[in-house]
């Protein structure tokens, strides 16, 4: 594992604050921590289905090469590594990559973190068994082009998994007004309405990238239960799986 470039003490202090923010279940990213078990279970089950793995095994992803695009502090990347996968995490924000590297090192996990873009990886011709684009497409300028790039990183017979927010009034009310303004779960301005992507648009982008959509699900927050659960309703948060034909 490569180490972070040398940093001055102020930078290190800033990164450790950021690391705490990323990894504190009660911190600024609490909603992602709460979403994580539900989201990870669906992703694991799709990968296990596709590659014929046992979900009750302790390392169901052993031997699989997985790319996590927009990995942030590594909230999904680390669990994937613990499930046995060989994981590469990329994020264009080098701050995130420094945080993620430090945290993985403290956890004794070997994860290949790179401050790189999906485009750079694609240009180098790398491919993976599974590519994840989680909470990413709502932040890119050209969804079709980005999905095509992500799709080109999936090896033939491999899987692409996406997670994002729908562009509906309900999503605007719950995910933007609710989460950013009322509950203060996310910093204001985290999402802008016109950048949100509908399931139809995402599916169309996947098809144009020569991928077949194999599964989709809605994810909803149940305030009384204080947890997320899967639902057929894709009006707000949703996930999609697509495979590249062998």
């Amino acid at each position: 594992m490569s180490h972070a470039p040398s940093l001055d003490p102020d930078e290190i202090a800033r990164f450790s604050t950021m690391a705490r923010d990323w990894w504190d279940p009660a911190g600024p990213l609490a909603p992602l921590h709460r979403l994580n078990p539900t989201r990870l279970a669906w992703l694991r089950d799709r990968i296990a289905d596709h590659f014929g793995r046992d979900t009750k095994s302790e390392r169901p992803l052993a031997g699989l090469r997985i790319l996590d695009i927009g990995c942030g502090g590594g909230l999904v990347t680390e669990p994937l590594a613990r499930m046995g996968a060989t994981v590469t995490g990329i994020d264009p924000a080098s701050d995130n990559i420094v945080v993620a590297r430090h945290h993985a090192e403290a956890e004794g996990l070997a994860i290949d973190y790179r401050a790189e873009t999906a485009e750079a990886l694609a240009a180098a011709g790398e491919t993976f068994d599974v590519v994840l684009i989680l909470e990413v497409v709502e932040h890119v300028t050209d969804v079709a082009a980005f999905v095509a790039t992500a799709g080109s990183l999936v090896r033939p017979g491999g899987l692409l998994l996406a997670s994002t927010i729908n562009r509906t009034l309900k999503a605007w009310a719950l995910a933007i007004v609710g989460a950013e303004y009322v509950l203060r779960w996310l910093p204001r301005g985290t999402h802008s309405y016109d950048k949100l992507v509908t399931p139809n648009e995402l599916a169309a982008a996947l098809v144009s990238a020569d991928l077949d959509v194999t599964a989709e699900t809605g994810v909803m927050y149940v305030p009384l239960a204080g947890r997320w659960r899967l639902t057929g309703d894709m009006d707000v948060n949703y996930m999609m799986a697509a495979k590249r034909p062998a």
Binding site: P25, R34, P37, A41, K56, P79, M83, A106
Partner: protein, 417 residues
Amino acid sequence: MERSDNSMPVPESVERQDVVIAGGGHVGLTLALALRRAAPGMSVTVVDATPAGAVPDGRVYAIAAAGRRMLEQLGVWDAVAAEAQPIRDMVITDSRTRDVARPTFLTFDGATEEGEPFAHMVSNHALVGAVAAAARAGGVTMVAPDSVAGFDVGESAVSVRLASGASLAARLLVAADGVRSKLRDLAGIQTVGWDYGQSGIVVTVGHERPHGGRAEEHFLPAGPFAILPLTGSRSSLVWTEQRANAERLVKLSPSRFQEELEIRFGHHLGALTVLDRPRAFPLGLTLARSFVRPRFALAGDAAHGIHPIAGQGLNLGFRDVAALAETIVEAHRLGLDPGSLSVLERYERWRRFDTFEMGVTTDVLNRLFSNDNPALRILRDVGLGLVDRLPPLKKMFIREAAGAGGELPRLLRGEGI
């Protein structure tokens, strides 16, 4: 006790454990066993204060159908059953102590399903011995006799200091250290509850005639008087009295105690022999305000000490075990940190409502039945009569008493995690 044979001092350098459990009673050990059975890759250590060769304390438990299914699933039921007495019939009466004939208002025929006993009576000694042997064989590390002196919660682990001076590190520390949980206090978790001003006298008696697997619960003016069948022609009594009276009764000479006992027990099983020294335990209701903290969870009596009126203490503890084991194992299989609050909150939500409901139900039952007010007597006579006459209500009552109410964790449905 047998379970200390394989105990070992803490090795010099210890890898971070996944789970350290404080308390090697039936809750702590069953949890350890359940974790290792479902996830052999997890490292689990149990710290227990019981010294080798400790004398069994004579407590007995009623294991309900759901708890039995969990022990079957964990592969220890056969060993427990060998020393267990099935309860096949249950009689509940309400009467003044000296009423000549006790009216029987409620008779459970015992089975929750065809051929399934209502519950099994087993000694603490037999239960803990069987689970400890299976836990050892299943790769659980036992540290005994030792106890947790303190702990510090860090970002990636909790460090645990032991009384012996050794230390451990773990992702999660579970306190299964009983109703007066020291770890609960160290974690700064407050409790709510109250003292009933009553004590339960526990004593084992032998009787001339066999009990036929019948349990009896008599609601006497001072509180419930339960006769629970044990193996052979023996029964365990849980006899509730006002505290001062209970203290007086257990200090009586054996012959005077026997006289007091016979007034309440009756003569339907023939001559009685007191087989051990009667002891009085103060009764109270203690509920922890929260069940979890970062890298910390309460289980069993440490989370909830309830009135023993409905025999639900052990079964609530087993529900904790099944729910916590399922929560931890599912997190582990997803590569998540089992000590993380976002994982542990699921366990808390799962268990708190149920626990509170059971605590309140047993409390209300006790208040209703530990009272000689004539109006209340009529009310409860009618109430129990109604329960007996309405099959669905009775069925629900039996199912709840058998521990099958609510959203059941998989182990309690007899399934693997």
